[in-house]
Amino acid sequence: MNAVDLASSYDLIVIGGGPAGLAAASLAARAGVSTVLFDENPGVGGQIYRGITSTPVTNRLILGEDYWAGEALANEAEASGAVVVNGATVWSLDPERVVGVSIAGKARLIEARRVIIATGSQERPFPIPGWTLPGVMTAGAAQTVLKAQGLLPDGRTVMAGTGPLMWLLAAQILRAGGKIEAILDTTPRRNFLRASPHLPDFVLSPYFAKGLALLREVKAKVPVRRVSSVAAVGDGKLREVVSDRGRMPADLLLLHQGVVPNVNLALAAGTAHAWNERQLCFQPVLDDHFESSVPGIAVAGDGAGIAGGTAAAERGRIAAIAAVRALKPAAAVPDPQSVRQRLRREEMGRAFLDWLHRPADSFRQPEGDTLACRCEEVTARQVRETADMGCEGPNQMKAFLRCGMGPCQGRLCGLTITELIAAQRKTTPAEVGYYRLRPPVKPITLAELASLPISEAERKAVER
């Protein structure tokens, strides 16, 4: 797709080319709805199917069958007639469904009658001492370069954290011939008590057998230690990983403690969000069709609340069916009941996984000099002390300490700041709330902003 050929409006704009976005765009386009999908990355697949059309990792055993399931989604989108634009960064969405997008350094505004936000999830912030050192990265990051570029960790690699993705990545690294010195499992032991009522559902879910096999595969080759503290230590780069179980030299530390919805675009569009206590994150308030509080804007996939890649695709289909029915009531669409049935099966084991891998408070609410905000280098102590002074929310905190004001726009500190304030002021994250977000939700240049259409009234508001 050549960016210059884009129309000024579409029936449906889908934002994000992961499973939810691909499934939604395919279904809508096949029903005859004019559909464009914008994705920021060089190729489709999102994070879970990263590099699905181009990966150099041709041995299918390495990434596993769940990864390769993404091929069908990519092919379906390709054949569907949906316009798919990669390298397209969406930086604005307003309640009138005008989408601001930058492609190859040029910004433009495109209108839609319906929008499906499918921007997925991101890894939960993991604010431990030293987490900004070169040599420390997220497990998802290592998985991304494994999938997309065939890069394998080299040197002394340690993993730390909790959650299915950590174990999956460990298995993928081992299958590819890589080595992992140790896995520091931060899962709190008492989590099992809270998770156990949901065990029967989990046993019946597709995750159960896969999860057990994965654990066995990894534990056969890698020493696993339960830890209650982790720190990255080094001067200018990672030298060692220190936990309550000792110190070990390391070149690479891969961190992971689950994923949370990527809320920036949905929040900037003005959609209502609510705190999810089980998943410890904010997520959009949605109806049965994944429609948000702003008419015509839906949020599908993990951005709607974490449920995994397969569920994301089904959610994308449900949102797309609703869009098609609104835009082209006569068009044929798949039976939504069968989609919902598949979605329910996918969501079955979720409660157990969520409670089991709920990160400990100490890994979410740092202390002392540990950085809460990576961009502006704001420490946990500063945030706690400012909360004690009477600062009771993230927006006032931002004004006082600049946390959330850097280029990441709060993505790597937002939940930490909210939770720190809640802890310090003895209230709940739901009460504390989240950063107020405004466009551009991804940086664009001044020249790009300057190139947007300007009305006479808008010009007069500035030129006086």
Binding site: M389, C391, K398, P443, T445, L449, P453, A461
Partner: protein, 374 residues
Amino acid sequence: MAASDYDVAVVGGGLVGVATAWGLAREGCRVVVLDEGDRAVRASRGNFALVWVQSKGLGLAPYAGWTIRSSNAWAGFAETLKEETGLDVCFQRPGGFHLALSERELEARANNLKRLHNQPGIVDYKTEILDHAQVARMLPDIGPEVAGGSYCPLDGHVNSLRLFRTLHTAINARGVTYLPSHRVENIVKDGAEFRLATAHREIRANRVALAAGNANMHLAPMVGLECPMRPERGQIVVTERLRPFLRHPVVTLRQTDEGTVMIGDSKEERTDPAGLTLGVSATEAERAVRQFPLLANVNVVRTWSAIRVMTRDGFPIYDESESHPGAFTVCCHSGVTLAANHALAIAPMIARGALDKSLVAPFSARRFHVQEAG
């Protein structure tokens, strides 16, 4: 008297409120600041951080003198705050510019300044009109479209968010009680004391200083005062941090001590603080790139919109109530520029219980009746 919890209740925890509270605490008053919560409509989080003199006072000549008084007091004010808190608000007074992007804009600017300085009773201060070459000597990075500008050596700027934090830190250190999420719903006078109703509880104080910005419009009548407001929305574009390139603040564009460039300033008759008019941000960006072409490829990392505290004629309102002795209004648009005055001049007056008419009589809201009668 002793029955009251506080000597003074300051209503409003923005820059005007906390500067006043700090000044009151320095006078030995027991002070409480009643504020709203995190999502309050708060101009102090969206202001442009100028300590600005040029063009102030057209339509009310004493405002120019009042502004210069604060501007002159600012360096000492900043120094005192640093001694008390260890925080540097980075006050600088290098002189500031207003840039024109056409001969027509430059001429309009010159006419405005002429009208301002021709007013009877205006304090004498220097603002020069400069052509492109003269501006370029001081601002070498201006673009070819800059026709010229006006320059006033008294203009300066500050890190206003740090000022906000510093004042909060300072009042905290001085024992001022700060109560967020205590929006004041009603005020009554009961004998010698004021009773302020909030959702949480009632606060009692001997005096009340209304520093609640646009909300003063509703609060002032409760204590026999008036505060006619006309709020408007302003938007700001903020860039990533850059190495220093701009020595002087421009009224619509300044580089902060942290390196970010703030670009303003718009006026829209809207009062929704969450909204943002993209075309307005675009206009600001477009003018900024014409003024300083080297900014074209710089990344915008944030935009703000905030509701300006604006009285009906744009000038401050300082009043004391005749029917409810002990109630005062402290209300203005330029909470940064006038912070030194609020802390060092207005607060001591409130502590003494009476405004100094020789200084602030022109700023009484009674002026609106004079105008209407005339």
